[in-house]
Symmetry: C2
Subunit: 387 residues, 2 copies
């Protein structure tokens, strides 16, 4: 694959860019493959093994994916679902997944709503609550879904500055929240900081805010937190608070391309948001989730790889004397002391993909974990890049 193609990927290969790319990449290389008839009925297997995933030779460390996924248990179920792909997703499969989710979290299945990735259900939440008043959120969070509603004129985002330590400033958020707030949105662990608000800090604050409006906590990375059970806000839902927790199969489960997400909430909330969700989730996605949801061997394997990679990164950062935030996710946000976009460019020239600048955090870089050998390349390149 020519470097100019990889280069575009290296600099725009974030999830957001991939979506924006739906309309943007009119000069894609794909046209030639079509012209060559790469996908004929006689030879329908993929001609370009890099059509999905990282281009050849690229260390993909920019999108918080888990390249060790999907689990074999997920792939087996996808093959089954493909063989039954002629049929609309069954109520039985949907209910089976809801029951598995409900069982783990100690709720009944009517507390669960499903969507094609948690991005969709977060977008549905933003669309539903946005017209009621501003979405109060930390200055830095995964804002893609709030922006979805905002871009449609259905929501306004009110961002609350972080603390000096780049933590979510819960007291400041609480002081902003009134009964005319449309929604409070938190991401815990947060993205791109990787920081966790512990349960004994976040839960009382969320409970107080939920007395005034609905609070959604995006827990996309919580399976990677040191104390998942002690951190999640799901107990607040069981106590009857007006709280929604969202989860995803894109991170620890390594299924970002398969798209499966869910929420836990009061039954009436779950039902309402389910009616706002726009897509019917593919049977392949639901089947993959059924196959791997309780695959603890895979989950533990993935978590082990992520922790190993994170320690490689922090050891490197320590050796270089660089500041970083203590991550409980599959990425690390660190202060390189150089312009983030220049760091991204320099990494790209070494076929390593990291994130560019967030907002005005011009000296901070987010690096995702990935294959151990790719993280190793990053660790070896970093001293050169910052030299």
């Amino acid at each position: 694959m020519a470097f100019d193609i990889s280069r575009r990927f290296l600099l725009t290969g974030s999830a957001g860019a991939a979506v924006a790319g739906l309309t943007a990449c009119a000069t894609s290389s794909a046209g030639s493959a079509v012209a060559q008839g790469a996908f004929t009925p006689e030879n329908a297997s993929v001609e370009n093994p890099y059509l999905l995933g990282a281009p050849e030779g690229v260390a993909l460390l920019s999108r918080n994916e888990n390249p060790y996924g999907p689990a074999q248990s997920a792939k087996d179920m996808i093959a089954y679902a493909a063989s039954k792909g002629a049929y609309y997703t069954s109520g039985e499969a949907t209910m089976m997944l809801k029951e598995m989710i409900a069982e783990r979290h100690g709720v009944t299945p009517d507390h669960v709503a499903l969507s094609t990735g948690s991005g969709e259900i977060l977008s549905a939440i933003a669309l539903h609550y946005g017209p009621n008043g501003p979405i109060v959120a930390p200055r830095l969070f995964w804002d893609t879904t709030a922006l979805y509603a905002s871009n449609l004129g259905m929501a306004e985002i009110s961002r609350v500055p972080l603390t000096a330590g780049m933590e979510i400033d819960l007291p400041a958020m609480e002081s902003m929240v009134t009964e005319s707030t449309g929604l409070v949105q938190l991401c815990n662990p947060n993205n791109p900081t990787g920081l966790v608000l512990p349960g004994d800090v976040i839960r009382p604050a969320v409970a107080r805010m939920a007395a005034k409006t609905t609070v959604v906590v995006d827990e996309a990375y919580i399976e990677l937190a040191n104390d998942e059970e002690g951190t999640t806000c799901i107990p607040l839902i069981k106590e009857g608070h007006d709280v929604i927790v969202t989860r995803t199969f894109s991170k620890i489960y390594g299924m970002a391309g398969i798209r499966m997400g869910y929420l836990i909430a009061k039954p009436e909330t779950a039902q309402k948001i389910q009616s706002v969700v726009m897509s019917w989730t593919p049977s392949t996605s639901i089947a993959a989730a059924i196959g791997s949801y309780n695959d603890m061997d895979f989950i533990n394997f993935s978590k082990g790889k992520i922790v190993e990679a994170r320690e490689m990164v922090t050891t490197t950062l320590d050796a270089l004397g660089l500041e970083y935030l203590p991550s409980q996710t599959n990425f690390v946000y660190f202060k390189s002391g150089k312009e983030a976009n220049a760091v991204q460019e320099a990494m790209a020239s070494r076929m390593i993909s990291v994130r560019g600048q967030y907002m005005d955090y011009n000296e901070w870089t987010r690096v995702s974990m990935g294959f151990i050998e790719d993280v190793d390349r990053f660790c070896k390149a970093l001293p050169e890049v910052l030299a």
Copy 2:
């Protein structure tokens, strides 16, 4: 599988019911499978081969599916996408599919928007145009997506009576359309009637209505029309009219569970509606579409099976002297002379699933094509059921 489970399926197994079933089937049999640990990491392949698709022994002729799908070319690409499932769908794959679609229809890729099934993009269209004024549509059409927006308070549906022959009454629709109409929605071929408005009839009427408001034509079944090229409204888009055409992989492609749909429209319309689409379409769905879109062997095979089945049904109806509408789809709408719900019950008792009553059309039954042997069972059962 116990008959009581099949019975519920037989009477509610429509696509709409399956979706409603997301919250409704709390007494599902699935719980026991979970309790039995059917999906352990060690044994993740499906324990119940009927989790998706028709329950054992059921002739599934109620949901307009094509059980001969997906094509092997689609399944091969799903397996590839599953192996790369860790990664967010690439812009390259998305663009490749758009280019394939654009090439077939003689437009540029910026005329194409993609969604997780055409239901999603039709819902996005209803959500976008609904607030501008009523959605003018025939009394009978595939109204699920207009109802999505209507149920959210974002649209109002204005239904125009059919002609005495149950055709879409285009002159009556035209007389309803003004510049304060939000959207005109047509389904051609129509569902559940199976009737086609020929190109020389629909195109001039759509062009005139599109001078006043946006017109969407749902062409989910058009690959099954006798003269696809002469029937489609895509030429109107090329002429610059304010027209949207939607297509799906759920019908001729046999991928209702995989969920892939698209629209063709003016670039600014395609871009706008893409921004309303809520889900990010799974890589498995996009890959399946890439694999099979130009698989003419499969398409011709499927069309052959559907035409063969349709002739079996109409021969049976002729022999019984029953009225039916001349279908150019994979279903036949016929006047049994008996209560539609009683016909459905009687068929269910024979493990055959057909649709129940539509609106007040109490003596009309819709039967979908399917496996030839299942259609044969229907044909043999019909005289008994109506005796």
